[in-house]
């Protein structure tokens, strides 16, 4: 009896003590980050994780809108110069004061010729410090998207970089290790307590954070679990509290568990199919896809509803436009998914004299269920009399073929990250391949009218006008069937149901500083 009472008292005490106990969030990711150095590998996921430790001048809020972070305000003082006013009283994790010198040193490091992140700030030319909390940034031309670019340029402490000989990014070609690979000194809401690569990285709350914390997490244990089955099992067993990669096929099972809450949405990534626009196919035969009727036939031969239902298990969103609704520049009028019409497709092919047209169809393995999507599309094309030759492989194998133009038809998933603007798609995927434009224009498409509108939108500082121009670009792309949009991919996170508030982000990057346990 006495024992029971004591136990009961003990439990009651424990329950009282609970809210004061440290809140630990165990995050089971599908892969590890490669380094603690945000300028080490051009990888959106690693940048997202390191955003808990490092911050940029601006950041995205709950609704993926830009908001001030380390900069409080900014103005454009000449067409090619932006002035940023920096936040007062910001401290790095080592206690150093945040000043304009730090911004300059960081921009210098990010734009170094050896930096893999250089492409993230294409327009950056240089910077000069005005005073301790003001800095001017020069860009190469009128450039409306500087703020978007700066969200992924995280700020290092200039003194810390200098003391540790890490002013330049680590160059893997040179064979010497960098200090920032193993150590961090950011301004973010969390500090790195320890890191064992591929096993566990522990983040703890940084009490000196400049922002008022909306989260109540004291400790994040970040564990990569590569195997889908193991990760799902760990979640069901309560060994992890959260995963940002819940496999599509396991969602019903996770939903069936009372311990797990599944957060579903659609990703920003739009999956599309592109065509070669060269005169010849890779096997030397004439390219019939230069005829718009063939491209139209290929588009209406695809039954999007069937792919949505069978391959994506109803979790994807059929697309009519080449960008997702959340992306600035999206125009709802363009987002009308094409209805399948195999009969009309056959007629169009006959009219274009393209019956039995044989071409290569290059597919990789990085999109959600990409192999199945490709197989489904290929069989739908076969049904109307086309002869696609499916070529599947890993991303590392397929990308060189694609970038060297050795493909006839290919898949592409474009999320417009890290820029989060239609300009990312129009400039890099659809613009003629020249200079820094059209890097992903694998089909060799070129249209003067399209290029003109896209280039004009690049230097238009008036937001409304710029978005109208981008919508105009997308309209041209749709009319010419430059690409066939298929769908926006499903996005599924899963958390332990004890977590109170966990905002889902359609760019697939968790922001744990907004999580309430």
């Amino acid at each position: 009896m006495r024992f029971t009472r004591m136990t009961a008292t003990g439990i009651a005490l424990l329950a009282l003590a609970m809210p004061a106990m440290a809140e630990t969030l165990k995050w089971g990711a599908s892969r590890d980050i490669s380094s603690l150095d945000p300028y080490s590998y051009g990888d959106s996921f690693a940048l997202g994780v390191l955003n808990h430790v490092y911050e940029g001048l601006v950041r995205y809020d709950r609704n993926l809108k830009l908001e001030p972070a380390l900069a409080t305000s900014w103005e454009i003082i000449s067409p090619t110069t932006w002035r940023f006013h920096l936040r007062d009283g910001v401290k790095f994790h080592n206690g150093a004061e945040f000043t304009a010198e730090d911004v300059q040193a960081s921009l210098k490091r990010a734009s170094d010729p050896k930096s893999p992140l250089r492409g993230n700030i294409p327009a950056y030319k240089g910077s000069h410090v005005v005073d301790a909390h003001t800095i001017d940034i020069d860009v190469s031309a009128n450039y409306p998207l500087l703020l978007n670019d700066l969200t992924t340029i995280y700020i290092f402490d200039a003194g810390w970089l200098k003391d540790n000989g890490a002013e330049a990014p680590t160059d893997v070609g040179a064979g010497t290790e960098g200090y920032a690979t193993y150590h961090e000194n950011g301004t973010g809401p969390f500090k790195v307590e320890s890191r064992q690569p591929d096993a566990k990285t522990v983040f703890t709350r940084f009490d000196g954070w400049w922002d008022k914390p909306q989260h109540n997490i004291d400790r994040i244990e970040f564990t990569p679990i590569a195997s889908n089955a193991t990760r799902v099992a760990a979640l069901l067993a309560g060994d992890i509290d959260f995963t940002d990669q819940a496999p599509v096929q396991d969602i019903p099972r996770l939903q069936g568990s009372s311990q797990v809450k599944v957060l579903e949405g659609t990703d920003l990534r739009t999956v599309m199919i592109g065509f070669s626009q060269r005169d010849q196919l890779i096997d030397g035969k004439p390219n019939l896809m230069k005829d718009i009727r063939v491209r139209q036939a290929m588009q209406i031969a695809i039954d999007l509803d069937l792919i949505n239902k069978k391959v994506m298990r109803g979790k994807s969103r059929n697309a009519g436009a080449l960008v997702a609704p959340q992306i600035p520049g999206y125009d709802a009028a363009l987002d009308t998914p094409m209805k399948a019409d195999p009969e009309k497709a056959k007629e169009l092919l006959k009219a274009a004299n393209a019956d039995g047209f044989t071409f290569n169809f290059n597919c990789a393995d990085t999109l959600v269920n990409e192999e199945q999507v490709c197989q489904a599309v290929a069989s739908m094309w076969s049904r109307v009399g086309l002869k696609p030759q499916l070529d599947q492989g890993t991303r590392a194998v397929q990308t060189p073929k694609r970038s060297s133009g050795k493909v006839d038809v290919y898949t592409l998933g474009w999320a417009t990250l890290p820029m989060l603007d239609t300009y990312s798609l129009t400039s890099q995927v659809l613009h003629t391949k020249e200079g820094s434009f059209g890097i992903f224009n694998w089909g060799g498409w070129s249209d003067k009218e399209f290029d003109k509108v896209t280039e004009a939108s690049a230097v238009e500082l008036d937001q409304a006008k710029r978005l109208a121009m981008e919508a105009q670009s997308l309209k041209i792309a749709k009319e010419h069937v430059l690409m066939i949009p298929l769908h926006q991919q499903p996005l599924a996170w899963a958390t332990n149901s004890k977590i109170k508030d966990f905002p889902l982000f359609s760019d697939n990057l968790p922001r744990l500083w907004l999580v309430k346990m």
Binding site: P116, P122, G175, S227, T230, A234, G393, A396
Partner: protein, 321 residues
């Protein structure tokens, strides 16, 4: 004897060079690491520059010769993905794989030998035959499947053991061990069991076959005639005569287990060398892949050479070979 030794070691070096050669041949078909290393918006010029800096434009023979030259000095370069020294990366991961393999080997001996003895002495009885039959399951089930079933039963349904990771580890100099903490030992159980299952059945079948052979030998009959107790007969006299091939097999299989641990490590997110290799393959991290293949083949070749030399020491007839 000296000539024999020189020949054996020479063979071993030749095998290593061949492995590295084929490894470099294969790497060319894995794809282009540069496309994965740079940001989506990097220009073609930036990509080409990086490719040149990494020496990827050279012929594969030139890359191979450069690699062998560096590797001979113990220099494996930096991982392209992690930007860390490959030697450090592998040294960090080695203890995890080694502990897993050693525990799996011990399990296979501790479980396999008694089972082998029992199935031999109970030959023809239903329990021995059904054990023998179920060992076929152990041989034929792929280890990733065994791993997932173990996780499902012991981690998800029963909640007894953790299904991934290594638990808490203790650092002893550069060596990290999970054997000194409770969570580390608990985390070791499922992966070690899944890795050793094949080995257990192998040892069991070998011991059984050897026991059946030995039990027919004259000295066993004489011992029985003298009235030696059954237990002593089986475990002292007969079993001792069966252990030589078991020890040889175990020594040779350690290399196999290290190589096959990569499947188990992937399933259990065990932070060992196999896991490192799997990630290197996904990212076409050539320095890591090359170093891993060389180290694993080095372990294989060393074990085999040692076994060969040991045999030659024991049996002079083999020295001429």
């Amino acid at each position: 004897m000296l000539a024999f030794l020189v020949k054996r070691v020479g063979n071993a070096i030749l095998v290593m060079l061949t492995v590295a050669f084929f490894a470099f041949l294969i790497f060319r078909f894995l794809g282009d690491p540069v496309e994965l290393m740079v940001n989506e918006s990097a220009t073609q010029v930036e990509r080409d520059e990086l490719r040149a800096r990494l020496g990827l434009n050279d012929s594969f023979l030139a890359q191979y010769v450069r690699f062998v030259g560096h590797a001979a000095q113990g220099e494996f370069g930096l991982s392209w993905r992690n930007q860390q020294s490959v030697a450090t990366l592998i040294a960090e991961r080695f203890p995890a794989t080694f502990e897993l393999v050693i525990i799996a080997t011990l399990l296979s001996l501790l479980i396999g030998i008694p089972l082998g003895v029992f199935t031999a002495i109970g030959r023809g009885r239903w329990w021995a035959e059904s054990l023998q039959l179920s060992s076929i399951v152990g041989v034929s089930l792929p280890s990733f499947f065994v791993g997932i079933i173990l996780i499902l039963v012991f981690s998800v349904s029963l909640g007894w053991l953790p299904g991934y990771g290594r638990g808490e580890v203790v650092k002893l100099g550069w060596w990290s061990t999970g054997l000194l903490t409770a969570s580390g030992r608990a985390a070791l159980v499922l992966p070690a069991l899944s890795l050793s299952l094949f080995q257990i059945t192998l040892v069991m079948r070998l011991v059984r076959a050897e026991m059946l052979e030995t039990l027919r030998a004259d000295f066993i009959k004489f011992a029985r005639a003298r009235g030696v107790k059954h237990r002593a007969l089986w475990f002292r006299h007969a079993l001792k005569n069966c252990l030589m091939p078991v020890i040889t097999l175990t020594a040779m299989q350690v290399g196999n287990l290290i190589a096959f641990a990569l499947v188990t490590e992937t399933v259990f997110q065990w932070p060992g060398m196999g896991m490192l290799f799997m990630q290197a393959v996904t990212f076409v991290d050539i320095p890591v892949m090359a170093a891993y293949l060389c180290i694993v083949s080095f372990i294989f070749v060393t074990l085999n050479t040692l076994v060969d030399i040991a045999y030659a020491v024991i049996d002079p007839r083999l020295r001429a070979a």
